[in-house]
Structures are given as C-alpha cells and as structure tokens.
C-alpha cells in the first residue's frame, strides 16, 4: 500500500465512524427560514427596487390579455430585429417545465416533472413519487394532457419533439423500485400519451432531449453513469418508425465526462447533438449522427462550459448556445465550420435554450440585473447585426426551452422562482 493509499484509508476510516442521520427535514427548514427572512427583507426594499427598475426599463407595452400578462421589457443591442412584446403566464401545472415543442403558434406541448406527494401538510418528498407531466398550449391557455399508461410511472420528462398535432415523442428517465434509472420514452397519438419500449444500458440512464425529423426518424440523447463508474458517458438512441435502438456515441477519452444535452435532426438520418465534456475543465462538444454512426466534432470555442441547446435548419446550417461564467456564446455551424459570436447578456447572464423559425433565431436564458435579487428572463434575438438582448421583470428560477413555430413568434418555458412551477413567455419580435 502506497503512502497515498494509506493516507486515504486513514482519512476515510476515521470519518466513516461518524454516524450521519437523514438531513432532509433540517434542510427544508433552513430553506423555508432563509426564504421567509429574504421575503421580509424584500418587502422593506420593494419601493427602492421598483424605483431602480423603473429608471432603466423601457416599457414596450402594458395590460393583460387572454394569453397571459404582457410584461415590461428592457432591451439593448444593435440588431435589425428586436423583441416587440413578451406575454407571460403560468402553465398551470404544479410541476416544472423542461421542454417545449410547437407545431403551430396555437399548438404547443410542454413536458416536465411533478411530485404529487408534496403538499403543505403532506408527507416528506419521495424520490419515486416524481411523474412526467404534459401540458398543451392552444393559443389561449394551457391544459394538462392525459398521461395514459405512464400516469403512475415514477420518473420525469426532459425533452419533447412534435411532428404534428397527433404525433409527439417525449423522453426522460424513470426510477424503478429497484435497480438503476431507466430511459423513458413516450409518444402522443393525438389522444393520449403511451410509453414505448426503449433500451437502457446497465448504468443509470437519463435522456435529456429528443428531435424527430419525421414519424420514422428520431434521435434521443442524454448520458449514462456506468455501474461503479465515476464519469458519465454520452447516451443516444434512434427511432426508425418501429423501435428505439441504442446508438452509443464514441468515448472521447477514458475517464472523461461526456454528456449530451440537446439534439436537432433536420432530416432523416442526420442529427447534430451538443453537450459538454470535461478532461480538465468543462468544454463544448458536438456529435454528428449520420447514417447510423456518430462522429465527435471539435467545437473550437474558448468558453469553459458545455453547449446547452442546438437547432439545425438543415444539414449545413446549425446554431448552438451555451454560457460560461464570462459570457454567453452562440456557435454557428456552417458547412462543417464553427464560428463563435459572443452575446453580451446583462450581469451574470446566460443563454440556455435556442429556437429558430425558418427566418430567425431567438435564445432565452436568465440574468440577475443590478438591484434585482432573483433571476429574470433574458431574450436574445439573433440574426443580422449585434444580437439584441431584452430582459423582462418576472422572478424566475430558470428558462429551459423555446420553440419558434413561425417567423417572429416563439414560445419559451421555464420555472417560477418561488413555486418552481412552469411558466411560459410568448415572444413576438420585429424590426428594431
């Protein structure tokens, strides 16, 4: 045994004699206490903050409408397109919203995760009580969708892709009573959601995103933690119209974390997935899927984080977004070449999701403006000229996904700061 091993053993043996109880309740109490204290402090500062915000916010429009509340928007940038209006509201589900896919501006589906066992006087949260949730946007509001045979399946949903109003695929993971996390894939047939058989590896498997070029071709990506493994490996599955098949991306280097967070399939047989890997510091990575095989392609950006979202208009043109502690980055993939453009997002801002129509792309993320205590949504309109960035006034926890069903109209989803429940932003852009 080497001296290093002996020291490790000495430390671990010593520490492992200490009995550690369940700390969930104590942690919950601390979180509640901190929030109460913050709320009291916030009440005292409310007038001051309101004055500060009013000084910098450019009010585009105001009032309420059937599709949610029009929120104030403050914008900067020199692009040819800018945010015209942002209408926001609740998705109406207790659960969090992770992903949205729109077929039209009057038909979108959002998916996420919900824990039905929680409540003011309810029992302690149970890991196996999580459920996937689905909500339908019809242009005037949201309603929940029938869960079908997955209603009582423990798990959560992370990604969705809709081809038509009667065909969508959602992916996530499910937690069996025993054994590791398994992949979860559901399809919407116009009437209800049903689980589809999907392969899993021996490890803990999580599917993060899915993209369908048609009813006969989809690819889902995520990551797996092999049994006993300390590092995560990229996970991918493809759908041929009948069944899902494991299509593992190549291992970049043994012992290196490699996670895929988003995928876009503009045509059957071809997709681009993005994520991150970590040899020493986090770095962006992209995997191209073509004719049943994955190829890792280098993203030469210098930012120290993975990419979180990608949209491909066709095989030759994709854009991805990501953020590190220094800046938000948009990486354009044109004819096999990456070009990075830095987007100036207000203090501590980041971009998390990207949506593109046939004409324009809009990214959403979050920022904490000066004087604000909580994160606010950021909307960046990409295109000709400097990206135009706008912030709105809601307190959020995060923005998670955006879909742009037609030019100049996008719908983004995220989660409220206090309730962590799903919210949406209906974004209209136009000439700046």
């Amino acid at each position: 045994m080497t001296p290093e091993d002996q020291l490790t053993r000495l430390f671990r043996d010593d520490a492992e004699r200490v009995e550690v109880g369940d700390g969930r309740e104590a942690i919950l109490r601390r979180v509640r206490h901190r929030r109460r204290r913050r709320r009291a402090r916030r009440a005292g500062l409310a007038a001051l903050i309101a004055a500060a915000v009013a000084a910098v916010v450019v009010i585009v429009s105001g009032g309420r409408g059937p599709g949610g509340q029009v929120v104030n928007v403050a914008g900067t940038g020199g692009g040819t397109l800018a945010v015209q209006q942002v209408r926001s509201g609740s998705i109406g589900l207790k659960g969090s919203a992770a992903s949205i896919s729109c077929v039209s501006s009057r038909w979108c589906v959002a998916v996420g995760t919900y824990n039905p066992t929680s409540g003011p006087n309810g029992p302690a949260p149970q890991v196996d009580a999580y459920r996937g949730v689905h909500a339908l946007y019809s242009g005037s509001g949201w309603r929940s969708m029938p869960a079908g045979d997955t209603a009582n399946l423990p798990g959560g949903l992370s990604g969705i892709s809709c081809v038509s109003t009667d065909w969508c695929t959602a992916v996530g993971s499910t937690s069996p009573t025993t054994g590791p996390e398994r992949t979860l894939i559901e399809t919407w047939n116009g009437q209800r959601w049903n689980r589809m058989p999907s392969p899993s590896t021996p490890g803990n498997d999580y599917l993060s995103a899915v993209s369908c070029a048609s009813r006969h071709f989809c690819v889902a990506v995520g990551y797996t933690t092999p049994p006993g493994g300390a590092t995560n490996q990229a996970l991918a599955e493809s759908f041929d119209g009948n069944r899902w098949t494991l299509r593992p991306p190549p291992v970049i280097a043994p012992g290196t974390d490699h996670l895929l967070t988003a995928v876009s399939c503009p045509a059957s047989g071809w997709c681009l997935a993005v994520g991150g890997y970590r040899p020493k510091t986090a770095s962006p990575v992209a995997d191209r899927y073509s004719n049943g095989r994955w190829t890792v392609i280098t993203v030469p950006g210098h930012h120290k984080s993975g990419l979180s979202s990608v949209v491909c208009v066709n095989r030759a043109r994709c854009s991805a977004v990501g953020s590190d502690s220094a800046a938000a980055v948009v990486e354009d993939y044109l004819q096999g070449t990456w070009t990075a453009q830095s987007v100036t997002v207000p203090p501590h801002g980041s971009l998390a999701a990207l949506g593109c129509s046939t004409q324009d792309c809009v990214a959403v993320g979050s920022t904490t403006p000066h004087g604000a205590r909580y994160q606010r949504p950021v909307v960046a309109v990409l295109g000709a000229g400097t990206p135009t960035v706008a912030t709105t006034g809601q307190n959020i926890n995060e923005m998670t996904s955006i879909s742009c069903p037609r030019p100049r109209t996008c719908i983004a989803v995220g989660n409220d700061h206090d309730s962590l429940a799903g919210i949406y932003l209906l974004i209209t852009i136009g000439p700046s």
Binding site: L10, F11, D14, V31, Y114
Partner: protein, 167 residues
C-alpha cells in the same frame, strides 16, 4: 409558494439525486474540514440548503456544493478562532501504536489536522478524503495547481511528523 414551503423538493430530481449521492460524505467532509465532526452535519445541511437556493444559477452543483462546504468551514474556523485561543499543536501529539492501531483510535485525523494551516487542511482533506485531483482542488479553492501541490507537500510532511504516516 415555494417547493420548500410546500413540503418538499418537488420538481428538483437533480437535488434529490445530489442529496442521495453526497449528503453523508459531505457531512463527514465538513467535519474533517471544520475540525469537529459534530459540526459536520450542521454545515452539510446549510450547504445543501444553499445548493437548493442556487438551483438554476450554478452549472456544476457538485462543485458548488464542495466549494460552499469549504467556505462554510473556513467561516466556522475563523469564528471559533475569534472566540478562543488556538489549541497548541503539540497537544495532539503523535498517536501511539502502529498504523492499524492508529486507524482504530477514535480520531487520529482531527487532532493531526489541527497542526496544519487552513489551506493545508483543505488541500489534504479534499485530496485524501474527497479524492479530488490537483486541478479539481485548484478549481474549488480558486488557487493555482502549483499552489495546491506546494500545500499538499507541506501538509503531508506535517501529517507524517504528527501521525507517523509511512512515507
């Protein structure tokens, strides 16, 4: 109403996963770093509450958690130092017996760690208890890898003198 106020961490499966994977280890890590195992659970609970509060703002909750624990332990140590004069290092003394005996002793490590500077203690605990590599320790502590190596070397030398770790 927040998830925490509604009675649980609903909607944050990643938090639950983090808790299950790391809570016990983090409580012990905090005990080693703060020099008091009894204080470890308290620090771990505070760190997990902060991670919950920071949901969506941090990209690497694992790393954020470790960094928070290090900072909280540092703050506790400072507070304790302000309240009481530091205990003499010699009071810890070398543990008696061979390696196996020392391991069997109630706590060989805590008294031994008292002889180290704050930074040396952090580096040596993150390496030998948490199993972090030099570059990971450098990221958590916001210092250079060279600095980590220097502190580690000095810490191991000091530990060897106190607990007679075979070198």
């Amino acid at each position: 109403m927040s998830a925490a106020e509604s009675g649980g961490f609903d909607g944050l499966p990643w938090w639950d996963d983090l808790y299950r994977r790391r809570y016990v280890a983090v409580a012990r890590l905090a005990g080693l770093l703060s020099g008091d195992y009894a204080e470890g659970e308290d620090i771990a609970q505070e760190a997990f509450a902060r991670v919950f509060e920071a949901a969506g703002k941090v990209r690497d909750p694992d790393r954020f958690l470790t960094g928070t624990v290090v900072n909280l332990c540092r703050a506790r140590r400072r507070k304790r130092q302000r309240r009481q004069a530091p205990r003499p290092v010699a009071a810890a003394g070398p543990a008696a017996g061979g390696f196996e005996d020392r391991v069997a002793d109630r706590s060989v490590v805590l008294p031994a760690l008292q002889g180290l500077s704050g930074r040396q203690r952090e580096v040596v605990v993150l390496r030998y208890y948490d199993g972090l590599a030099d570059w990971e320790i450098a990221e958590v502590l916001s210092v250079s890898v060279g600095s980590v190596k220097t502190h580690l070397h000095r810490a191991v030398t000091a530990l060897a003198a106190i607990v007679e770790v075979p070198r």
